[in-house]
Symmetry: C2
Subunit: 354 residues, 2 copies
DNA sequence: ATAGGCAGTTTAAACGATTAAATTATTTAT
DNA sequence: ATAAATAATTTAATCGTTTAAACTGCCTAT
């Protein structure tokens, strides 16, 4: 790369000190600088196409105007949509975003954070994996500003912005029950993550409140690094056998994606043979033969809010903000009450088997 | 943030100069450093959890081990998948990725590049928008290493890695014709971008070679910042009227997404009423009632190759690499030859109307 | 006349690393 | 014993900025 022009170059051309050039270009000490010199400096800066070296600036000011974003996988639509919102919000404040994918692996997340922090990011937006808690405490001790996104740890007093998972799933389950479904399967993750387990709690509580005994076989908990085939297997289990369900709730877009694919392959009619609700939206749902009822996460709000909180915290480490946002239940055809037909008599077996 | 330990801190504790600490921790002058001192330095560094300040290092070495990625929109699955591959490849070489979305707007792309370059990224991976050429030439003059991804300008001698668009579309069209479809619609973008126009050329040439006269109404060219409704309208036009097509080729995943949504809404049977081919793959296609034939871009290769070329160029500005990679045609049910049935006699009207 | 004030500008240190060159200490050869 | 060679370490400049403090004229008030 050819050398870029520095303050020194401008100073030399104009015949002043670099300090003065710096003052002028940063509009400091405005009233104490000669008008003509200021103008000349600005003119020369423009002519030489001066671009400040942020690295040098950062070294001195201890600020990089850069934030780090750590998600599980940037190629996941949830993550990339969020990334885009965060990028836009950061840009509004002249911040730039460094990113990395943790693959849900704590040690990879840790390595990422170190890399980002060594590059002196001013703060972090983190979608934490299971087992991240200890390291987050470490971050707090170091005084690194950060905001958790989508997930948080109830025992950790930190900023976070997340969906009210319990409430969202509770709402979805209630809707299914109100629509006449009673044998409700759920495909979710098996993990120690509080927010994910809140989804299970929402499901179980709503069933209980409606006097439905949850069957063990209805709840499919899969590892967080699940493969598509496992999800398909879970769906197979749910829709066959004497204890088969009449509705399935997918706890994430990845689960729904593979689940719907399987339902598609099995040529199951939705909602006649099985109703479906998903958490997260996905453009993909539009391609399914039936509109999919889903819980719409307030992504824009999550992204903007978390970014703003982070930038606030960077400015002055004040209070802790914790936000549990409401999800909106978007009702589509996949949970329409089933109308009885001769070939498909509506018989809800929930209370009568065994 | 609490102050991190610096070379100076270590030097003070051990009672040596910072230079020596630097030499030890970077394994320089290995044979000329006392064994015990070296060990002690390493020990103290570990104890104080020393993390080098990359900013300071960068200022001195003029290297940040950071590359910038500029795509049209990081939330687009094509971009985010690529981003993930690039991230992984960069990580292998201890590079970190800064990203930004240009929204296909040249001035936004320019602003982004300036921001990234001021942060002294070592090089750029760019998916350029229309009108970016002048600015890329500027980059070359500045000696900024960069590699274009997915798109390039034939008049610009620069590194690039892209799909062989002409060949890919040609292959897809030939496949449609071989499968018995003759009235082939195409939904693509209207733009000055060479690579996009290569898609149109592939389509028109393949038609011509097979003795099919392309009809103007078969080719739908939409603005690059197209809205979903426009795409749906284009599909409506293609599948209705006396000149209606029997197959549609979508020139990108965004186009296919909305197009298939519309086909879904219209309850058109694929491929009986209209065959479909798409460029780019998408998980979403799995949710469609029929498997979608598509051109699979060698994403992994594109991402890895472009990153490697960039890192090579950063190391020593040598030659120019230009790669046009082959797309693979993945044939699914959406282009199965239509079998005649009483209710759906196979009559291809291509040559007989008007 | 002369101290004080003000406008305009420069000096110089600092941020945290790297690294060529200089320095000091030790060993070896004569 | 002494010069030369080698080993181990330090000095000091540098990267491109920022910014407190010092400086230089000039003007004004006493």
């Amino acid at each position: 790369m050819t050398k870029k022009t520095s303050l020194k170059d401008i100073a030399q051309v104009v015949g002043v000190s670099t300090a003065l050039v710096s003052y002028v270009l940063n509009n400091k000490k405005e009233n104490r600088i000669g008008k003509e010199v200021a103008q000349k400096i600005r003119k020369v800066a423009r002519e030489l196409n001066y671009q400040p070296n942020q690295i040098a600036k950062s070294l001195k000011t201890n600020k990089t105007d850069t934030i780090g974003l750590i998600v599980a996988d940037i190629s996941n639509p949830f993550s990339s949509s969020l990334a885009r919102i965060i990028e836009d919000e950061a840009d509004k404040h002249n911040y730039t975003v460094l990113f990395g994918s943790s693959d849900e692996k704590p040690q990879k997340a840790q390595k990422l954070m170190t890399a980002l922090l060594n590059r002196q990011v001013d703060g972090l937006l983190i979608c934490p994996s299971e087992g991240a808690e200890a390291h987050l405490i470490e971050l707090q001790h170091q005084g690194v500003p950060f905001v958790l996104i989508d997930r948080y740890f109830p025992g950790l007093k930190s900023n976070y912005v997340a969906l009210d998972n319990y409430g969202a799933i509770h709402k979805a389950v209630q809707h299914l029950i109100d629509s006449g479904f009673r044998r409700l399967g759920m495909v979710t993750f098996r993990t120690g993550l509080f927010t994910i387990n809140e989804r299970r709690r929402g499901y179980l509580t709503a069933l209980k409140e409606n006097g439905i005994t949850a069957r063990k076989s209805w709840l499919k908990e899969l590892p967080i690094d699940v493969q598509g085939a496992d999800i398909e297997k879970a769906v197979d289990d749910l829709v066959t056998g004497p204890q088969r369900v009449d509705a399935i709730l997918f706890a994430s877009n990845v689960l729904a994606m593979h689940g719907l694919k399987r339902i598609n392959t099995l040529r199951l009619n939705v909602p006649d043979e099985v109703a479906v609700v998903s958490i997260d939206e996905a453009e993909a749902y539009n391609l399914f033969h039936t509109g999919i009822t889903y819980i719409k996460q307030p992504l824009l709000e999550i992204g903007q809010m978390s970014t703003r909180i982070l930038l606030e915290t960077i400015k002055k480490n004040n209070s802790t903000t914790q936000a549990n946002l409401d999800g909106e239940l978007i009702i589509q055809a996949s949970t329409q009450p089933v109308v009885a037909t001769p070939s498909n008599p509506v018989v809800h077996l929930a209370e009568q088997d065994e």
